[in-house]
């Protein structure tokens, strides 16, 4: 148990709360979820292109106008299509995308159960 105490002491000495999260959180949260259309696989947040900079300004303007995160996504989706959103919503285009992995997980579990655990008797 001794080393445990050391770990605890270490963690408390290093006061985690001094490090604080971002100041303008929702803005960077949103821009991280947007794809920069003229770049190769970069988010708006990470890009410094003209297009990305404009979108960043637009997002802050829309936030000031009182739009919610989702409303901004809808706005941009209408202008540029779903390609701009990094988070594919759950709709008829993406049923398979979201459900297939989960289905595979269930199938995998079923196989394991059937072949190895139940078969014994």
């Amino acid at each position: 148990m001794k080393y445990l105490k050391y770990i605890l002491i270490f963690l408390f000495l290093f006061d985690l709360n001094l490090l604080n999260a971002n100041e303008n959180n929702s803005h960077s949260e949103i821009t991280k979820n947007l794809r920069c259309l003229i770049c190769q696989g970069q988010s708006i947040h990470d890009s410094d292109s003209e297009f990305a900079n404009s979108i960043k300004i637009l997002v802050s303007k829309k936030l000031n106008d009182g739009l919610s995160e989702d409303q901004i996504y809808i706005f941009l989706k209408e202008k540029y299509g779903e390609w701009i959103l990094y988070d594919p919503g759950f709709n008829k285009n993406t049923y398979f995308l979201w459900l297939l992995p989960l289905l595979m997980f269930i199938i995998g579990g079923a196989i394991i159960l059937k072949r190895f655990i139940i078969k014994k008797n």
């Binding site: 080393y3 445990l4 770990i7 605890l8 963690l11 290093f14 985690l16 709360n17 001094l18 490090l19 604080n20 999260a21 971002n22 100041e23 959180n25 960077s28 991280k32 979820n33 794809r35 190769q40 696989g41 970069q42 988010s43 947040h45 990470d46 410094d48 003209e50 900079n53 299509g81 779903e82 390609w83 701009i84 959103l85 990094y86 988070d87 594919p88 285009n93 993406t94 398979f96 995308l97 979201w98 297939l100 992995p101 989960l102 595979m104 997980f105 995998g108 579990g109 394991i112 072949r115 190895f116 655990i117 078969k119 014994k120």
Partner: protein, 623 residues
Amino acid sequence: MASLIGFYSLVFGLCLSFIVVLFSIKNFRNSLVFDKKILSLTFLQLFFVITSFLGLIISFINSDFSNETVFNHSHTTKPLFYKISGTWGNHEGSLLLWLLVLNLFIFLFLLKSKEQDKNYRILTLLFQQVIIIGFFIFIIKTSNPFNYIFPVPTEGLGLNPILQDPALAIHPPILYLGYVGSSVIFSATLAATCLNYISKNWAKHIKTWVLWSWIFLTLGILLGSIWAYYELGWGGFWFWDPVENVSLMPWIALTTLLHCILILEKRKILTSWVIILSISTFTLSMCGTFLVRSGILNSVHTFANDPERGLYILIFLFCLIFLSLFIFFFYHKTEDNQKYDFFWLSKESSILVNNWFMMYFLVVILIGTIYPIFLEVINSEKISVGPPFYIKLIIPFLIPFLFAMAIGPKLKWIKSDIQNKINLSIFFIISFFLSILIIKNLKVNFLVNTILVTSALYLFLVTSKEFLIKGINNLAQNLAHFGFSLLILSILFNNFFSTEIITNLKIGETFKSEKIHITFESIEKKEIKNYSSIIGKININDPKGLNQTLEPELRIYNQPNIVTSEADIKTNLFSDKFITMNLVQNQDYFNIRYQIKPFMIWIWLSVLLICSGGLISLFRKKI
């Protein structure tokens, strides 16, 4: 001249492939002992491929612009080191490296498998030669690195500056050793399946190759990540970009295989599963090559892409898939007498659970990466699948996975019992309260993150205890698992506590907030051989008395004319201070991006720990 030698070596290498195949078939049928000639011929082939590769390197060193590859990717003013690394920094050269590694591995395999059955060795060689021939033809037909151009240009086009970097110079060879190294596992498994050779002994023998591939792949991914972190200039190290995903998928498959082989080695059960995993590892590597080289996906890490190349790899990939499906279904004898006589709480089932979750993670990444292609083909709609998708599907499953990982290794074979229940519950309570303490002040989802951090901390505590008490007994495993728990924890904390300030500053201006003052003091211009640089001096001042000057840099490369932004990073044990500056068009200010990224170094260190776990496992076996 060097190009010419290189090209002819390549052709000779291909001819040798056919000779090796002929000799092998003869030897396979008619003799009981392994023909020494085959080994010499394989060595000769390796020699030719090395010569060819050296020929390309020499063309690069001499800046021989009559060679198209050199012309496209080099320049006389480039430093020697980057001239050499430029050899594999492009499509053609990197494929030559592929081929080199394919040959190298089969040669080493033949050398190191003397105690194995003759037919098994020859069949492995034959399967590997199929892959090698495929790549020879691919290189010579679609991506010949030795194309001649006339009239000879006087100057080359230069190497993309973001590739002129030490980490990225050694990244491809190391990654390929892992990536392509899995080809030997593939060939050996197919051979063993055909001959019904799979046994405990075989598992022990193939484990070495799995471990080597795995170590190199892990290191390769680490290097790529480090490079992305400091070179791409936005402070992330993993973007769920397609190219990163395709390197992670074989890694997951290999890791799963590694665990699964443990069962095979001890109990000789799950043979079919081991075969499937070995085949899918290399198939995933090939699939990755296809996705990256064909340009079918939109990615940060672009290669010059060409649909014709994509088509060739695609056809080749599916030939290999059909071949392995055929062998698996018609040669593999499913042994119904395999006894699954283990209890639900045992080492076997814990490894099965590990496999189950790992496969799930693999499927998430695979589907996330290729789904957009399918959607576009089927109803021509374009969507992006980015980080939010992976996070949403992986995190909820990571939690039980981490708990299982804490308990699993403690279990015994066949039937087990959880010992030290009190100890384990104490650990759980401690990690639970610690995580509440950590999460409660953060603006993140409380419930999910508390459970997540609890599971990570729990794994961390359990593995560190294991590591400290029984370290020597099972060092390899303990080290790797401890490294993994440290990795997860560092990534989580890094995510929670990262701070970022983005601001536009002119020279002399100061950004002021309660916590920090950022002063843009001055800039300095310098001329270096192949670029000119602007170095900013930026002073960071915070009330805690920290006073630091960081010097981010802008490099304006002359060939090709590209501006890159070099981050300045100050690393210490707890956090990285990361700063970049960028030009803004038509403005006289710079865009400054300052980030505090806690525990960065622990992410790198923990991956190294995981690797060293693998190395120790190799080393200990030999004693």
